[in-house]
Symmetry: D2
Subunit: 251 residues, 4 copies
């Protein structure tokens, strides 16, 4: 039987600032990525979110990002590989402590935003992240873009990895995502997006914008909870997967 | 045979900013308290300091403080007990991760500066800190001012505690430190300070400013490394303890 | 003819985080207090908010707070009078620059949250704030709690001051606000709150919880925009003031 | 008579952290660039430094940087041109307020570190910075790398500009600095460095590594105060300039 994990970003609120829709999103996912206070989240939000995810029985992961709250971790920062190693160790450790306070173990690590993108393309940064994960806890699963440097780095480090795919993004012949700055980067039609997900999970392939078929590993799918549309679409994805006999479960 | 631990604050540098004299101070202590990035320290400094302390074979502790780098954690902030719990969990976790990367276990937790002082007097904050330590790792030793709320909280939580004493501060009849804002708070004469330490360790007593003798528990002594004078004095304390047949070792 | 200013806090969003209801609140007020990046707001939000307030023709003020984004400036920090002077100068300057980019002058300064409360009771902090305002621009109006140390400090410094009153808070016989921690601190009944405002503006008096009448200076009234209820109540206040022939205008 | 300004970075300390040698460096320069709290400096340091520079009669400039204290503003951040405009306005305003408290006017703006480098090469960022300077105060002088996009942007915006040159860096045939990552980027020999400065000021030329002579505008020379060597070299530069009949004065 085919299966896939659905992951979602949680715990991105900060102090008086509320963001996201954790209550609804958690119903749709099997694993959650919790912000660690650098690009979003704070110690109070982390505790609440870890407790919430533990109550709901979801697999809990750290979601480390660049130290840039004002930019929500979406702005690339020129950190060296050593610096990236250090900030990832720090953030995993902080979240792992909150996981302990609610008697659960950390399941995975998924870099956030600009760090995720940088780790997809830059082998040195990818190796630094994989090394950080391994040195803190070699049983953690490393989530990264399917086919990226980060997945390669995780495997080379002997970590379990989860290759992440996207429903609403188009892919290039080399298996990478079409950059958002290019036309046709997003799949606007929902049925096209659903078909792409089913192709990925059932057949391990994705059709590129140019019509070619390329192989792709699909262990986990990212779903979003910001806005009514995103939630509704995530529900459709779940339904389509289930109707097609695909089990939705954590890795 | 009598014994005592000597502890010192390490890893307080930040980015391009260097502070303290870690290379010299570490020679004089048996346990080190490493700043965790809130009042001092950063991920890179934490990694370097944990590796350095591990190489030198010192017991490594977390030194959590208020989130106030500009005030070096010396300014009281009105955080609730819940908020204090959260920032302590976070900081212990972050440092514990760096300890893992250098294959050592965290040994203890000692709050820093204004948080240390608040936890000495405020039972709710003290309980919050003890609870945070226990929930993250009940094998950690909680360092606190001898006779303070924090030691009481640690014992009530079932933690091992280390009662900290000071060589150059005078004590009140109730066993508390004379506030720095009062005259006679500091012991200026070095031989008086040395005698106070020896009395504490040998006899479990301290003579107050008014001449009374009160009992005091002395598990660990805080030594400082900032400035030539502090280092020279710390060396004299070590020598005096050793000459008096007191073993200097971690708890 | 009697008159009063209505002031509201604007520009408290931060990066990806949206808070408040600036679009609606600005319609109800004659002066706005813009957060300056320490407890809320960021450079981008400040520019947008200054431009927005300028377009709408509102008097623009700086709203400096403690350097505590995570606590939204609501947690007291033990800053010295010198440190308070420094952070107030800094924040006024930052906002004044954005005012220049939209070709308006800064009109006033109103401390935020815990800093506002501290400045109401602590004469040294109040003097520090008044000194900061005067040294940056002596034409600025200093907003403070009516009858507080801050108003006194402003007058002593030769500044114009605006005594602020509240519609939904009860007052003590000495003219101070009943602390929120005490029962009866809030006026639950809207018509009572409206009557209190009219009494203040028309007669310069407020009835205490104990039924006594004490004099009070009412130059400006604080209105809130967070939540549908707050906005609806602010509209009622405006209407009640206008129906009673009180002009609503900036100072 | 030929003349040149010598500028130095001041006020880079932060809280308990001291850096640089402001007391000695200020003796050697005619204009100072004061950090504004984003990459270095804090409100207290800014006040002290502005007061110090005013007492010593030096021209005072703002030294805005990326919001990255941990990286000392030396790490490129992918801020948009709008975001750069906003952080520059903010930082100029903050420092201008401290200048007012010591009764001096701000003289200039010089971006720091990675922002300086980005503004040298990226015309959009350069235009954003020039626009920020102009919108806050069109009388400010914009300092930038000689021949860079930033100088061009300043001129296009109608600002006075100061073309900055370096004594110990080699130049490329197109007038740009040899990147530090390339061999031969630094001039190791002091007499070579002194000769380069004199050629720049006297003849408006610089000899490239390849031996060609290219024109260069030299309005201000950057001198450093960190370390005994840097100070000694800065003194030699001053002496060499004076002996050659070049006046050292602000712009």
């Amino acid at each position: 039987m085919k299966y896939i994990d659905l992951n979602g970003d949680l715990g991105e609120s900060f102090g008086a600032y509320k963001i996201g829709n954790d209550q609804e999103l958690i119903k749709l996912v099997t694993s959650v990525n919790i912000a660690c206070g650098f690009h979003a989240g704070d110690p109070h939000v982390m505790k609440q979110t870890a407790a919430f995810a533990a109550r709901e029985g979801r697999a809990i992961g750290a979601h480390p990002g660049y130290p840039d709250l004002n930019g929500f971790g979406r702005r690339k920062m020129d950190l060296s590989a050593n610096e990236v190693y250090d900030i990832v160790v720090y953030q995993i450790g902080a979240l792992a402590a909150f996981a302990k306070t609610v008697k659960v173990r950390l399941n995975h690590v998924k870099p956030h935003g600009a760090l995720y993108n940088a780790a997809a393309r830059d082998q040195k940064l990818a190796d630094a992240i994989a090394g950080a994960v391994k040195d803190v806890d070699p049983s953690l699963i490393l989530y990264g873009l399917s086919g990226s440097c980060l997945i390669e780095a995780g495997k080379a480090a002997g970590l379990r990895t989860a290759s992440e795919v996207f429903a609403d993004r188009t892919y290039q012949p080399d298996g990478t995502l079409t950059p958002r700055t290019q036309p046709g980067a997003l799949i606007e039609d929902e049925s096209d997006a659903l078909r792409q997900v089913l192709d990925m999970v059932h057949h391990g392939i994705v059709r590129t914008a140019g019509g070619r078929t390329v192989p792709i590993q699909a262990d986990t799918l990212c779903v979003h909870g910001d806005g009514a549309h995103a939630l509704a679409f995530a529900k459709k994805i779940r339904l389509a997967l289930e109707e097609d006999g695909i089990e939705i479960r954590p890795l």
